[in-house]
C-alpha cells in the first residue's frame, strides 16, 4: 500500500482518464476532508460529494420534539450526546433546542458514553432516566449493551428514546435515486468495523457501484479515493477494504449478535431523506418496556411521515443527499451559522455545513 500522500496523489493523477464523482458517506470523513483541504489537493476531475452519515443530522425532528417534551417533565432526567443539544426542532416560528429547554429548567444531562446512563439510573432511582439514543451501527452496540445491562439489573427507571439508523440502506437509496450523481462510495470505516463486508458487498453488486471501506485520517482518505478511482477506471464495481487495520471481513460478530438480540430492522424516517427502507432499528418485543415512547405515551416515528424540513430557508435535505454543496445554500453563512443554525448539518461536529463554515472561518 502507498504510504506517502504525494505518491497517492501522483498515482491518482496518472490513472485518471475522465471525471468521477465520489461520495464519502460519513460526516467524520467530511470533516477530515475539509479540515485538511483534501478536496483541494485532488485533481480537478475528481469531485467529492458529502453523504448523509451524520446521525445528529438525520435524527427525525419528531424525535427531538419528544426529547424536548420529556426534558420538561419534572420526573425525567434526559441524557444526550452533546451534539444533539443545539439541533433545532419544534413547529415553524417556535423552534427550540435542548439547550434552551435546559436553560428554562429542563433536566438535560450531556453524556459521552451510554454506560453513564446506567450509573445515573442506579444512583437516582427516584428519577426516570431517558437516553436520547441517536446513532448508526457504530453506536448501536453500546446502546444494545445498555439495554441488556438494564434488563440484567432489573432497572425500572431507565428507558431509551431511540433514533438508531442503518447506513447501508440510505446508501442504497442514494445509489438507486434517478438523479444519482454519485459513481463510487467511500464507506464509513467504523460502521464497517461492526457490520463487516456483507451488506456493502451486496450494495456494490446490486447497484453496480464501487464501494471502498475507508478510514478517517488524511492519508487513509486519500488511499480510499485512490482505491475507488482504480475500481472505476477498471470498470469493476465491487467492494474494496482500504481500512483493513480496523475492519475485518466478518466485522464484529459479537456486536452483530448483540444488535440482533435487542433490535429489529424496520423502515423508518431519516430527517431530510424521508422514509428509508430498512433504514432504522427498533427495540424487539422483549425490550419494549425500555422504549421511552411506550413508557411516556409518545407516538412511534415509524408511524409518522417525516417532514422534509421545518425551516423553509434550510436546504439540509439536498445537502444530505449530496445534491447541493453547503456553500451553495442561500442561507449558508448568512441566515444560518453555527451560532444560529437553521438545520442540523450546521450544528453537528459531523455536519457538512459546519465543516464548510470552519474552513471559511480559517481562511477568512
Amino acid at each position: 500500500m502507498t504510504r506517502e500522500p504525494s505518491a497517492v496523489l501522483a498515482e491518482l493523477q496518472a490513472i485518471l482518464t475522465r471525471p468521477w464523482t465520489l461520495m464519502e458517506v460519513c460526516g467524520g470523513q467530511t470533516h477530515s476532508i475539509v479540515r485538511w483541504g483534501l478536496d483541494q489537493l485532488l485533481p480537478d476531475a475528481l469531485e467529492l460529494v458529502h453523504g448523509p452519515g451524520c446521525p445528529v443530522c438525520v435524527t427525525p425532528a419528531q424525535t427531538i420534539e419528544q426529547a424536548l417534551e420529556l426534558a420538561m417533565r419534572p420526573e425525567v432526567l434526559l441524557c444526550s450526546f452533546g451534539d444533539m443539544l443545539r439541533v433545532p426542532a419544534g413547529s415553524a416560528g417556535g423552534t427550540c433546542d435542548l439547550q434552551q429547554v435546559r436553560a428554562a429548567g429542563g433536566n438535560v444531562r450531556v453524556i459521552t458514553r451510554p454506560h453513564q446512563v446506567l450509573e445515573l439510573a442506579r444512583r437516582q432511582p427516584e428519577r426516570q432516566v431517558v437516553l436520547l439514543a441517536v446513532g448508526f451501527e457504530t453506536t448501536a452496540p453500546a446502546v444494545a449493551l445498555l439495554a441488556e445491562q438494564a434488563c440484567a439489573l432489573g432497572l425500572s427507571n431507565l428507558s431509551l428514546l431511540l433514533a438508531q439508523a442503518r447506513v447501508v440502506p440510505a446508501m442504497a437509496a442514494i445509489a438507486a435515486a434517478p438523479e444519482r450523481r454519485v459513481q463510487g462510495f467511500l464507506a464509513a470505516g467504523h460502521v464497517a468495523a461492526v457490520m463487516g463486508h456483507g451488506e456493502l458487498e451486496q450494495l456494490a453488486m446490486r447497484q453496480q457501484i464501487p464501494v471502498v471501506i475507508t478510514g478517517f485520517a488524511p492519508l487513509e482518505l486519500l488511499q480510499g479515493v485512490l482505491a475507488c478511482v482504480r475500481l472505476l477506471e477498471a470498470g469493476t464495481p465491487r467492494l474494496h477494504n482500504a481500512y483493513a487495520q480496523v475492519v475485518r471481513p466478518q466485522g464484529n460478530p459479537a456486536a452483530q449478535a448483540l444488535l440482533r438480540q435487542v433490535f429489529a430492522v424496520a423502515d423508518g424516517p431519516w430527517r431530510g431523506l424521508g422514509s428509508v427502507a430498512g433504514g432504522v432499528l427498533q427495540l424487539r418485543a422483549a425490550y419494549r418496556h425500555l422504549d421511552a415512547r411506550v413508557r411516556f405515551g409518545l407516538s412511534s416515528p415509524i408511524d409518522a411521515p417525516e417532514r422534509v424540513c421545518l425551516e423553509p430557508r434550510c436546504r439540509a435535505d439536498q445537502v444530505l443527499q449530496g445534491l447541493l454543496r453547503p456553500s451553495e445554500c442561500p442561507s449558508f453563512g448568512t441566515a444560518c451559522t453555527p451560532h444560529h443554525p437553521l438545520g442540523a448539518p450546521m450544528v453537528s461536529a459531523e455536519g457538512a455545513c459546519a465543516a464548510y463554515m470552519q474552513r471559511s472561518g480559517r481562511h477568512g
Binding site: 450526546f81 458514553r113 454506560h115 457504530t138 467504523h190 468495523a193 461492526v194 456486536a255
Partner: protein, 66 residues
Amino acid sequence: MCLAVCGRILSISTAAAGDPALWRCAEVDFGGLSQTVSLACLPQARVGDQVLVHVGFALSVVRDDP
C-alpha cells in the same frame, strides 16, 4: 458521532457477579489518559492490544500490519 479513538489495553476486569460477557471491561490508555471501556463485544481482546473505542465501547482490535 461515529468518531472512534484507538487506545491500548492496560488491564481487564470482569464483574464479580452476573454474565461476564455483559460486564467485561478494560482500562484503556489513550496517550496518557486512561478510561474504563466495555469489552463486551471483544472477547478475544488481551492486555496490550490496541483497540478502537467509540462511546466507551471497544469495537475492534487494531492490527499494526493488516
